[in-house]
Symmetry: D2
């Protein structure tokens, strides 16, 4: 069972002249699923902490393998799994499905960072209140 599931509808703008979904959309959709997963834990991708520090999760690496094309109007299910909660980083896996048909499999590694508007980002250890929820067993 996946840790979290997200559903999305393929829009017309997501297609290209080959008649299928353009591959760059899958990276955007990984982030959408990640965002929904964070929301389900009570977090935002960019969030001011009680002490005023703003924590964000910039990307370290993202990859995706494309197994079968997706089409306009498809309802895609995204199964998100947490692969690893590191000291300062988080790695998630995303399986995109249309029913039982596997469409793509992606992986996203992010780093826990402080980012103050207008200043340089720097990575920090994942704070305990994030870690606790990220390491919890799925329902």
């Amino acid at each position: 069972m996946p840790r979290f599931s997200y559903i999305l509808r393929v829009q017309f703008v997501d297609t290209d002249m080959a008649g299928i979904v353009h591959f760059a959309n899958f990276y955007r959709w990984m982030e959408e699923a990640e965002y929904a997963f964070f929301s389900s834990m009570g977090f935002k991708l960019v969030q001011k902490q009680p002490d005023g520090v703003i924590i964000g999760w910039p990307r370290v690496r993202a990859s995706c393998s494309f197994e079968s094309p997706a089409f306009y109007d498809d309802l895609l299910e995204v199964d998100l799994d947490v692969l690893r909660v590191g000291v300062k980083s988080l790695t998630m896996k995303f399986l995109f499905r249309r029913g039982e048909t596997r469409i793509a499999v992606g992986e996203l590694k992010t780093a826990c960072c402080v980012h103050t508007p207008g200043e340089k980002l720097y990575s920090i250890e994942i704070p305990p209140h994030y870690r606790e929820k990220l390491e919890a067993n799925p329902a």
Copy 2:
């Protein structure tokens, strides 16, 4: 003669399953041409002034009429004209052409604003050093 000209190449990602450029790209391209026009005057779309204030140009209104489809690999010319330099706003017109074929005509109205990271935008009168160049006659 247009005030400023910009050339762009239609990319594969800009097309949709109808085999033509998706209309939302034209709004992005108006901004690209606007940016190149600003650069030609020595300005950025978001720019820190000598006194530390950051000036930006958020959009008030943008429209575009589509006359003929554009295709992957097209080289499009964008003729930019300044329609009006108001007290606090700037209105530009954009004609998209593929050679002599008219593709689209757009209009973009922007407001001169102060925007400090993390704070609310507010509009200001267009500063003299911007106005001087915006009102200059084209070469």
Copy 3:
């Protein structure tokens, strides 16, 4: 009462360095709302008819006025109204709201067209089964 309502969540990717939603997204969102509206009537934006002809709705003109910025994580409601069902064209209006705060107002004019893959689009009169539903009074 609007003819149709659509709800969307602002994603991180929709923002720009000014910290607000980039204006080009609103044109994409008009299409998303239009698509959902078409779905509610049993239509797709691109649809093969019983006689094999493929009908699509390329854009003639799209405009949007921006009244207030939208932000990451906003839940936006889009009120769609049919402004005019012409002989060959359809014009819709879109009000984007965050609760009671007006964010933007857009208008989209589309043309009913035949588009066979790999061939030139041409406009046709809106077929009766489309017209009947487009002209129906909202529930």
Copy 4:
């Protein structure tokens, strides 16, 4: 020395509220560089052959590692190298630099396919006239 070099300007729309380039753009830019590389050899990403068959290059896998943020107005250089010309697939590597600063490193694997509008894609052996140029030593 890279096999091919491509230069691009970061646009305002490419940034997000963290003030840096959104990661999904790098996948789009790999394709832009790939397209320019193909053009330099006299090919398009989707191209009708003399025998009427249309050859395209859908993506099998794309990954990117992000080493340093890129910003609005950056001029990025993309060094493209051909990593492998397989029987039916092509793998390219992309180094994104701002001067000497490494920004990101990506990899893209594509498959040589026949794609007729409205029909299913299927992979074929890379035709000799493509292979010859893809395997040539860089100038």
